[in-house]
């Protein structure tokens, strides 16, 4: 049982006296505490029902993990420096955070008093934690709270304390835990966080309106990832920024005939420029993230260290170039124009469903035509072409899926994803192999020891084998994807209404 009460301002200053009159209490501690809540940019902890706080007092600092309703899971001493995933004792939580950085999401400061409710023999049978009034950095203040903490084996006592508090004038049950109030006070809304657009269209709304809404959301996601990309907080910021730019380019393509042609062409050029700026940094990020795994296949970690160092140098340079682009007037103009020209609905013409039907049936035909032409002997370009068309179809399903019912959409995406996985594996292995080769030439010119170059040769060979293995599966995966069931699924989607 964890229960929180809002304490009325009039009771606030005499709160301890009021409680002491009502319950056998001992004041255990009274201090000013700064609390920093940590989470990833995409709120992975919050979404998993967790909150992670650093409690900083004058002489001590604690790391506390709790459920969202305030029930504590763990508490450990920690230094006063920034918290990293390595500080967490629980492996599952570290895995949940993954490659993302733990960021201080909200900071609040205020008095905290811990009162022990005493039972027989002066044993603590429950605790009342008085928190606040709390000052929230960059936010509005949050009033005083009284939180009842139950202790294991003494649940009945805690329930009794809750009932007592409930009966004291000036104490009322809190509608939400303190954490959520602090988040709201700071203007943060984790539940509405999206890393991709959240689109729900009704069939008859004008296509212009649907596109404007989608482009508005895409712009917000790009903006939300710029700062983290500039500061290289973690590699996912750039990844999400890049994927969102790719999605936006696809939307612009689909908007042929809906958005004025001159505007569409202008932003297609600008977005291609932006996408190009992100390519090299992202490729190198991916390389370095998977480097240990990659070199483990050729068992030559030591020899390949100069290769890693070269990649790290290239990565730094690429990010510096990307940062220049993201700080440029051209990028600022792109974001401004995006808001003023792309994210506004033009005159209403066709309803969105007509546009979606056209695009979807055309995209399906394109995929089918290229897929049917694929044999084990088809050139790599044909595989790349199929991959691009599949991506186009996938984006269409994402954007317009709400028009076709959740079940059909999710089944179509799942089926397509299986095909895309193998096409992606083929493409990635090829891109990495070519990059390994280029790097090897550069290292050779710089007089790198032969052992390193030989190991790189083995790496290139390993990537070639991976690419060959993926290539050998393409035709088979296509036939599995193109079975009658899926053909009917797509046909049903555009004719079922």
């Amino acid at each position: 049982v964890a229960a929180e009460f809002v304490v009325d301002e009039t009771v606030g200053p005499s709160c301890v006296d009021v409680l002491t009159d009502a319950l056998p209490l001992r004041v255990d501690s009274h201090h000013i505490e700064r609390r920093v809540w940590f989470d990833t940019h995409d709120w992975r902890l919050f979404r998993a029902g967790l909150q992670l706080e650093q409690h900083l007092r004058k002489r001590e600092s604690w790391l506390v993990m709790s459920n969202l309703d305030g029930r504590r899971i763990s508490r450990q001493p920690i230094g006063r420096t920034a918290v990293t995933p390595d500080d967490l004792p629980d492996r599952a939580t570290r895995e949940l955070i993954g490659v993302r950085a733990l960021l201080p999401r909200v900071v609040a400061t205020g008095p905290v008093q811990v009162l022990s409710v005493l039972g027989p023999e002066e044993k603590t049978v429950a605790r009342i934690v008085l928190e606040g009034p709390t000052t929230v950095r960059d936010g509005t203040p949050v009033g005083m709270r009284a939180r009842v903490e139950s202790l294991r084996g003494y649940d009945k006592h805690a329930a009794r304390v809750c009932r007592t508090l409930d009966a004291i004038p000036g104490f009322g049950p809190a509608k939400e835990p303190l954490f959520e109030s602090v988040l709201r006070a700071a203007g943060l809304h984790p539940r509405s966080f999206r890393s991709k657009p959240d689109l729900e269209f009704t069939p008859r709304i004008p296509a212009t309106q649907a596109f404007a809404g989608t482009l508005t959301q895409l712009r917000e996601i790009v903006r939300g990832n710029v700062d983290g990309t500039l500061r290289q907080l973690d590699t996912e910021f750039l990844h999400d920024l890049r994927v969102t730019v790719r999605r936006t380019r696809a939307v612009l393509k689909f908007a042929h005939g809906t958005i004025a042609e001159d505007i569409r062409t202008k932003y297609a050029v600008e977005l291609k420029w932006l996408a190009d700026q992100t390519s090299l940094s992202r490729d190198l990020d991916v390389y370095l993230l998977g480097f240990d795994d990659l070199v483990s296949h050729v068992n030559a970690a030591g020899e390949l260290e100069p290769f890693r160092e070269q990649l790290t140098r290239h990565c730094k340079r690429a990010h510096a170039a990307l940062n220049r682009a993201l700080r440029s007037e051209r990028f600022a103009a792109l974001l401004d124009g995006w808001q003023n020209e792309l994210a506004v609905a033009g005159p209403a013409e066709r309803p969105v469903i007509e546009v979606a039907d056209d695009l979807l049936s055309r995209a399906w035909k394109r995929v089918a035509k290229r897929g049917d032409a694929i044999t084990d002997d088809s050139p790599a370009e044909a595989v790349h072409d199929l991959r691009k068309r599949c991506k186009e179809l996938r984006y269409l399903l994402e954007f317009f899926g709400s028009l076709y019912g959740a079940d059909a959409r999710s089944e179509a995406v799942t089926e397509l994803k299986h095909l895309q996985d193998i096409l992606g594996e083929f493409q990635d292995a090829e891109a990495q192999r070519l990059s390994v080769h280029e790097n090897a030439v550069e290292l050779a010119n710089a007089g790198t020891p032969a052992a390193t170059l030989i190991a790189i040769g083995r790496l290139e060979h390993h990537l070639q084998l991976r690419q060959d293995a993926a290539r050998a599966e393409v035709a088979d995966r296509w036939h599995r994807f193109n079975r009658k069931h899926n053909q009917r699924l797509y046909a049903r989607m555009v004719t079922s209404r």
Partner: protein
């Protein structure tokens, strides 16, 4: 989960105070700690102000009728829970004997707590019995207090033999001198000699101190309320040695 047993063949040598202080220190460093008071006298249970009562008694726990989790009580300290003593533990030997593979039973029961606790500290009754065999079998480290006396080396030998004779993988042994009065020459000499001559004797010795006796009055581990006292410093140092042995 690592299991540390505070155990001695002899009574009144500082097992319970060691168990209580070590458990508190482990909890303070952020580990989730369970202290199981297996002594029917309930010294540790008294120190933590918990009622010495388990519903259904030792029989219900040993037979599995009552889940160990349900019998756990929170202490007044963060991260530190207590499995209280019960007077029926005086018959624990008989209860274990009624089970299949009796010396493995305690370990099996504790396996079920591994999700919730990082460290379990067992406060054992002084005896050589089926219970102590089970404790030795379950533990990763046996923490054994020795009083500084000419017979302490013999006691240590007996303890080693007992551990070696127990079935299953032998736990690590860390003996330490307890109730050391530095005014006495014999105590000073043994405190210096024993750790040098025996690898399994801790360099730390716990002093005879009135603050340790005060624990019974204050009903709280000395490390919690007299943090800078020589006794607390010694317990802290003992825990530093013990956690290395127990790989905590």
């Amino acid at each position: 989960m690592r299991i540390v047993a505070s155990y001695s063949i002899k009574g009144g040598v500082g097992k319970t105070t060691a168990a209580a202080n070590v458990a508190w220190l482990a909890a303070e460093s952020g580990h989730r700690v369970l202290l199981w008071d297996l002594d029917p006298q309930g010294g540790a249970t008294y120190l933590f102000r918990v009622r010495p009562k388990v519903k259904g008694g030792g029989e219900a726990l040993v037979s599995g009728k009552r889940d160990l989790h349900d019998a756990v009580k929170a202490s007044d300290f963060d991260n530190l829970d207590l499995l209280p003593s019960d007077f029926s533990y005086r018959n624990l030997d008989l209860l274990l004997d009624a089970e299949k593979k009796p010396t493995r039973r305690l370990g099996r029961l504790l396996d079920g707590m591994a999700d919730e606790y990082d460290v379990v500290v067992l406060d054992c009754a002084p005896s050589v019995s089926l219970v102590s065999e089970g404790i030795v079998r379950a533990a990763d480290l046996v923490l054994a207090p020795l009083v500084p006396a000419p017979l302490s080396v013999r006691t240590l030998d007996q303890l080693r033999s007992f551990i070696d004779a127990a079935k299953g993988p032998a736990p690590d042994l860390l003996a330490f001198l307890s109730m050391v009065d530095r005014r006495r020459r014999l105590h000073r000499d043994l405190t210096e000699q024993l750790p040098k001559e025996h690898d399994d004797v801790a360099a730390t010795a716990i002093p005879m101190a009135s603050v340790v006796e005060q624990m019974g009055v204050r009903r709280s581990p000395v490390v919690a309320w007299a943090r800078t006292s020589p006794a607390s410093v010694a317990y802290r140092s003992l825990w530093d040695e013990a956690r290395l042995h127990a790989k905590v």
